[in-house]
């Protein structure tokens, strides 16, 4: 944990010593990260909230085992994804259908939020879990492949391969809306000119 914010190191150490105020501060800092990830994985507000709750209970219980070899956020991502996997195992839920209302309610859309983004949310929810994990971590959360590999306990090559398959699958899912005649050419061309945003 040497590269981390000294304030965070202090918070973690205090939480290890069962300081509830420090733990509350950790919750305040990381609740969005955990909730966003659980929501993107489950696409259900209630499940995402339950999972967020479970993750932080686990953080409280297991923070003593956090050795600081990985960053705290990597450790937390790992814990969160493990909880999500456990959730899928228990419920046998594979998010094949998505309630768009659930998605929009959760994401509190701003005015003029693009239809593309809504469809993208829907399509992410339909990805196979393995693809979804890598896609969300890399393309949504902005982690690099080394970080993704560390979080998921896989190789960098595996992370890349899963990501490319996920993108290909998403392209396939979005093509009926944005391919051929329905292609929003002007916007897409603009995006093509600046692919990295």
């Amino acid at each position: 944990m040497s590269k981390q914010d000294p304030d965070l190191v202090d918070l973690v150490e205090r939480a290890k010593a069962r300081d509830e105020a420090a733990f509350e501060e950790l919750y305040r800092r990381y609740k969005r990260m955990v909730y966003t990830l659980t929501f993107r994985m489950t696409h259900e507000v209630s499940s995402a909230e339950d999972l967020t709750q479970e993750v932080f209970i686990l953080v409280w219980r297991k923070i003593g085992t956090f050795r600081g070899e990985a960053s705290f956020s990597t450790w937390l991502y790992r814990l969160t994804l493990n909880e999500c996997r456990g959730f899928f195992r228990k419920t046998h839920v594979e998010a094949k259908t998505v309630d768009l209302e659930d998605v929009t309610a959760a994401t509190k859309p701003e005015e003029g939020r693009s239809l593309f983004r809504s469809r993208l949310e829907e399509s992410i929810a339909k990805l196979p879990k393995g693809y979804r994990e890598v896609f969300v971590l890399h393309d949504v959360q902005g982690k690099n492949h080394e970080e993704v590999a560390e979080i998921l306990g896989c190789s960098v090559g595996n992370s890349k391969s899963q990501l490319f398959k996920a993108r290909a699958k998403l392209k396939q899912m979005l093509a009926p809306y944005y391919g051929g005649d329905k292609l929003e050419l002007s916007r897409l061309e603009e995006a093509a000119a600046h692919p990295l945003g």
């Binding site: 929501f39 967020t52 209970i57 509190k108 949504v140 998403l170 392209k171 061309e189 995006a191 945003g197």
Partner: protein, 239 residues
């Protein structure tokens, strides 16, 4: 590359630097190919919009529930649950992977253990009635002690002689005190020599022949390292 090849490469090339050789080749292709150009634009927008997906905020009630649950759980339980993972700090981070790698070996060991356990129990009989008679080396001694096969450590206690179960074949069996032994048929003292007729398995183990377990270590007689004991043998042993 034709269109099909380019289309397969598009999701990968999205992460390539625009000035790279392959991206420059792609740009040339896209200028001529509306189909690939449309797909590329879609992928580019996909990437751009993915980064813009908003970070979400859980409801305030989530923290309330977390706090309630922390207060519901007795401190000792939390401490216990925390303590249950303490040993993990001592183990390498890659342990789960190692564990999975070792799983086949563990399964084989378990199978071997079960196979061994299912063998008939050896017929254990105390052949040496007492150390006092057994250790005698006088020519008149006709006691019937055992001899023991050992790998490394000397026997310091009177050994329980275990008959070799027939099904166990030619492998020396371990006594309950972990001393590999076999049954002595006769012991015939003649002068300073004692002839031992023993029914023994063939073995390539380093063999030590001892006259009961009470002799000091220097009196152990090591067999040659390549000694192969016949099924019925006559060993000459000086005591």
């Amino acid at each position: 590359m034709n269109c099909r090849d380019w289309k397969k490469r598009l999701p990968i090339l999205l992460d390539e630097a625009p000035e790279s050789k392959e991206r420059r080749a792609l740009a040339a292709h896209l200028a001529e190919c509306p189909s690939c150009s449309g797909e590329w634009a879609l992928l580019a927008q996909l990437k751009q919009e993915s980064r813009k997906l908003p970070e979400l905020e859980p409801g305030a009630h989530v923290w309330e529930k977390v706090r309630e649950r922390l207060q519901e759980q007795p401190a000792e339980e939390l401490q216990g649950k925390r303590a249950e993972g303490w040993w993990k700090n001592l183990l390498p981070a890659q342990l789960p992977k190692i564990s999975w790698a070792l799983a086949p070996a563990a399964a084989i060991l378990l199978a071997l253990f079960i196979f061994h356990w299912r063998q008939p129990a050896p017929d254990v009989a105390k052949v040496i009635p007492s150390a006092a008679t057994a250790v005698k080396t006088t020519p008149n001694s006709t006691s019937a002690p055992g001899i023991a096969l050992r790998r490394r450590t000397p026997v310091t206690e009177p050994a329980v002689i275990t008959r070799m179960p027939e099904r166990r074949g030619r492998i020396p069996h371990l006594t309950p005190d972990s001393v590999p032994v076999f049954v002595i048929e006769t012991l015939s003292p003649q002068g300073q020599k004692v002839y031992v007729d023993a029914q023994a398995p063939d073995t390539e183990l380093p063999v030590f022949v001892i006259h009961q377990g009470r002799l000091p270590e220097e009196n152990y007689i090591p067999a040659p390292s390549n000694y192969l004991m016949p099924v019925v043998s006559r060993r000459t042993t000086d005591f």
